[in-house]
């Protein structure tokens, strides 16, 4: 079954939310969770517009981490098909539907942090030297809704070391208090590039602190 069919089945089962997006049916529409007066919203019909809308925060900052809780409001997509809805969601939240489906089906290939950091090269290769403790601190200071990320973390530090218990490690990938049967959770199968960049800084600080 294609992802479009799976999304269609999810909508039929009553799912109407992913990340900061609300999905409406009959007719098919998509808007920001926090927008209520739908008549006041700017109408879009081309799924490609989603990338432009998701590019900057309301304050004009570049949102290169797409799971960030900073999606701008004020727009609504009127869509012709579930396939268009899939394209639109994939531009707001890249690969989110495929990752959700793989996770749900037990087919996801999670990349633990040490695997991810070990694959970095160039200036980011030093990120791999961050301590386990340093990495745990980064999870708590960068991930989860308190730090504006909407994704449920699936990875561990390595196969033997799970993430320490925290709001970030417990977060279920669903914004607000929606029932789990009504929302598609956003899942994080590998640390993002922002995390890698911060791990590099942390590793450098740890090295300098040891030297001091």
């Amino acid at each position: 079954m294609s992802l479009t069919h799976k999304l269609s089945a999810a909508l039929d089962s009553g799912i109407d939310q992913i990340g900061q997006l609300r999905i409406l049916q009959n007719p098919l529409r998509l808007h920001h969770l926090d927008d209520e007066d739908l008549d006041s919203l700017e109408v879009h019909t081309d799924p490609q517009d989603a990338r432009e809308i998701g590019l900057y925060t309301p304050e004009g900052e570049y949102r290169f981490t797409k799971g960030e809780l900073s999606l701008k409001r004020g727009w609504i997509f009127h869509l012709n098909s579930v396939d268009e809805l899939r394209q639109t969601i994939d531009l707001f939240y890249p690969a989110s539907l495929g990752l959700w489906d793989a996770w749900k089906g037990g087919n996801i290939r999670v990349q633990n942090l040490r695997d991810k950091l070990g694959r970095q090269s160039g200036m980011y290769r030093h990120a791999r030297n961050v301590s386990d403790q340093g990495a745990q601190e980064l999870v708590q200071s960068l991930c989860g809704p308190a730090n504006k990320c909407v994704k449920k973390i699936l990875w561990k530090i390595d196969e033997q070391i799970p993430l320490a218990d925290s709001e970030a490690s417990r977060f279920n990938g669903i914004v607000g208090d929606a029932d789990e049967s009504k929302a598609i959770p956003m899942v994080c199968q590998e640390a993002c590039n922002f995390f890698v960049a911060e791990a590099r800084k942390k590793s450098k600080a740890e090295f300098e602190a040891k030297d001091a």
Binding site: S2, L3, T4, Q48, R51, L55, Y56, Y62, F64, T65, K66, G67, D90, P94, A95, L97, G98, L99, D101, A102, I108, R109, Q111, R119, S121, Q189, E190, C192, N193, F194, A197
Partner: protein, 274 residues
């Protein structure tokens, strides 16, 4: 090249992306949108090294069992030879990965059809300017670290010179960080007109600011790089010559055709669909 539609295959365009410059990934999405519009593939997606979706996430987006991966990169090098194969778990031109057949094409920048794109771009940026009285500079980054990064440009320059529709007095490969330096453009040209085409996929700091500074019509201070109107103020009168400056070659919408050409070339070399 004529492209045979692949209604059961997916196209995955791989780009570098940036955590700092939002313009950096725009061309990849434009190329994907253009190819999607032509309905040649079941699906068209992008993935990145520095943006989302990552290469490791990308396969989850794809339903099709056969996937053509095209690096939207300007040259062979570290990313196309090390990073992309490693991240997508590829071991050769065609690899079975997690139940999918992945065809790994060459990067767009080394395809011979880039030459016509470059000439088309020069006609757009310097309309009516006689080629016989003009020098064409193609500018790459250049780095002592990887010879392949300059090879793509040298090859394109040699190819352009052989084209019957090319009447430029000279076509010269130049670089930001190794000789021949683009900063020496006035010494390297003997014609009254000069056309400069940055051989990059996306417009960014290099094409907005660094190269214009090396050419002599932009200063470091002032507007943010992306707000500078460097491509729309042609021509520039500098050092007794008239200079026409183009946006990065990868921003050309026809790059979509080069991506398709690279897939056709891959099929000719590696895939028999008899």
């Amino acid at each position: 090249m004529n492209f045979t539609p692949k209604p059961n295959s997916a196209l995955l365009i791989v780009g570098h992306g940036s955590t700092e410059n939002p313009d950096s990934s725009t061309p990849y999405f434009d190329h994907a949108a253009e190819i999607r519009k032509r309905k040649l593939f079941a699906e068209v997606h992008c993935c990145f090294w520095k943006e989302e979706p990552s290469m490791r996430e990308a396969l989850y987006m794809i339903d099709a069992e056969e996937v053509y991966v095209v690096p939207d990169f300007i040259s062979e090098g570290y990313f196309t030879q090390d990073v992309i194969p490693r991240e997508l778990e590829l071991s050769g031109p065609t690899t079975q990965v997690h139940g999918k057949t992945i065809h790994y094409c060459d990067p767009v920048g080394i395809h011979p059809s880039m030459t016509s794109l470059i000439l088309q771009r020069t006609a757009e940026v310097a309309p009516g300017v006689p080629q016989e009285e003009s020098t064409l500079f193609i500018v790459g980054h250049g780095t002592g670290l990887n010879k392949n990064s300059t090879k793509a440009i040298k090859d394109q320059v040699e190819l352009i010179k052989t084209l019957p529709e090319c009447h430029f007095a000279d076509v010269v490969d130049t670089y930001m960080e190794e000789p021949p330096f683009i900063a020496d453009w006035a010494k390297l040209s003997s014609t009254p007109n000069v056309v400069v085409v940055p051989f990059f996929i996306a417009d960014g700091l290099h094409s907005y600011q660094d190269i214009p500074m090396m050419l002599g019509f932009e200063k470091e201070e002032g507007l943010a790089a992306s707000q500078k109107d460097v491509f729309r103020n042609n021509p520039y009168s500098l050092q007794d010559k008239t200079l026409y400056y183009s946006a990065a070659i990868g921003t050309e919408p026809m790059m979509a055709d080069v991506i398709l050409d690279q897939i056709s070339t891959f099929d000719e070399l590696h895939v028999s669909h008899a």
